[in-house]
Symmetry: C2
Subunit: 204 residues, 2 copies
């Protein structure tokens, strides 16, 4: 019984340390993609030895931080209404998703440096599935083009959202214009050849 | 005279070494963004000491390799006819530029790891100026939308081209479909709200 309690306590300690490290990593890497493991351990209030006891490499820390940020992003996206007119639903997704990308851009830079492209796609599978479903519905309802594959259209949406983050970082785009520019671009990109591009903010 | 000849000969040697290192770097990093400086020196037929005599850091080698690849890309783009119907000119630019992006994608990955985003934009200033001029002409002639800034439209074109390279690397896009998908996407993205999206391969 004493031994079991001690194991339970150790496990609870370990879980607390891991959670503190993951949150500190998401925060530190979100400020600076080159934040060191020492800085992350310090921000988490644990020693380097504890950090290395739980994570074998910098890549593992970055992976956990990215997973954490995406899980939080999924919670935000859960609150976005993706029903109704697909054009307006897409605009709402961009408005919410754009802020997540904006907040996570330094973390994504760290991920792009440490993790294989395939792993980054895998981590984005949750958000991607949401957009895939929306694009498929928009195609079925005649709002979006059907001459390009759905995965390509999802890729275009995310590529344009991510490029906006880079344009802001390079000082070439004002953050408050990003959602409008992305929406105007993607609504046009998703329009069938021969069909007029919808006016921004308009329904189908 | 002997001394002058010897200086000239040394300078010629140095230029030959630098050129060999830059070409080897563009080749090796184009195969594998993580190629080491030792591998690059070996491929160039010089010692590591010679490499370090000319380049202070890995970032300098990557920068020189990227500059070299972009200069060669500019030579290719010089042969593309960007006059006439802006829609067809854009399709020709994508057809040629896409292959350059495809060939340079590992090198670009190395550059994204080693160089600041601002430097990568600066290195792309030549290709960017070309597209800027084409986009400006297409807007003046009524072929492209004017409700978004020119730098944003140039960014969208390059973001979609680069994302295609990543989709291919992830096994989600067949290389022979890339130019068609990019062209169909960007022609639509560049269409004014209220105007029909041009059919692929059609003129204005």
């Amino acid at each position: 019984m004493g031994s079991k309690n001690s194991t339970t306590a150790k496990r609870a300690d370990a879980l607390r340390s891991i959670e503190a490290i993951v949150q500190a990593a998401a925060h530190c890497l979100g400020q600076n993609p080159e934040a060191s493991l020492s800085e992350i351990a310090r921000a988490a209030g644990v020693g380097r030895v504890t950090l290395y006891a739980h994570f074998a490499s910098r890549a593992e820390v970055v992976d956990a931080a990215m997973s954490h940020a995406i899980a939080r992003g999924n919670e935000v996206l859960d609150t976005v209404d993706l029903s109704g007119d697909p054009l307006l639903a897409l605009a709402r997704y961009i408005e919410a998703g754009w802020h997540l990308v904006d907040q996570a851009r330094a973390l994504l830079a760290a991920a792009q440096r440490e993790l294989p492209a395939g792993r980054i796609l895998e981590l984005h599978a949750g958000p991607a599935a949401r957009v895939e479903a929306l694009v498929a519905r928009g195609r079925a309802e005649g709002a979006f083009r059907t001459d390009l594959p759905i995965p390509w259209m999802v890729n275009v949406l995310h590529a344009v959202m991510h490029s906006a983050a880079e344009e802001i970082r390079a000082g070439r785009l004002a953050p408050d214009r990003a959602a409008d520019h992305i929406t105007a671009t993607v609504l046009a990109a998703f329009t069938s050849p021969g069909t007029p591009v919808p006016e921004a903010g308009s329904g189908a």
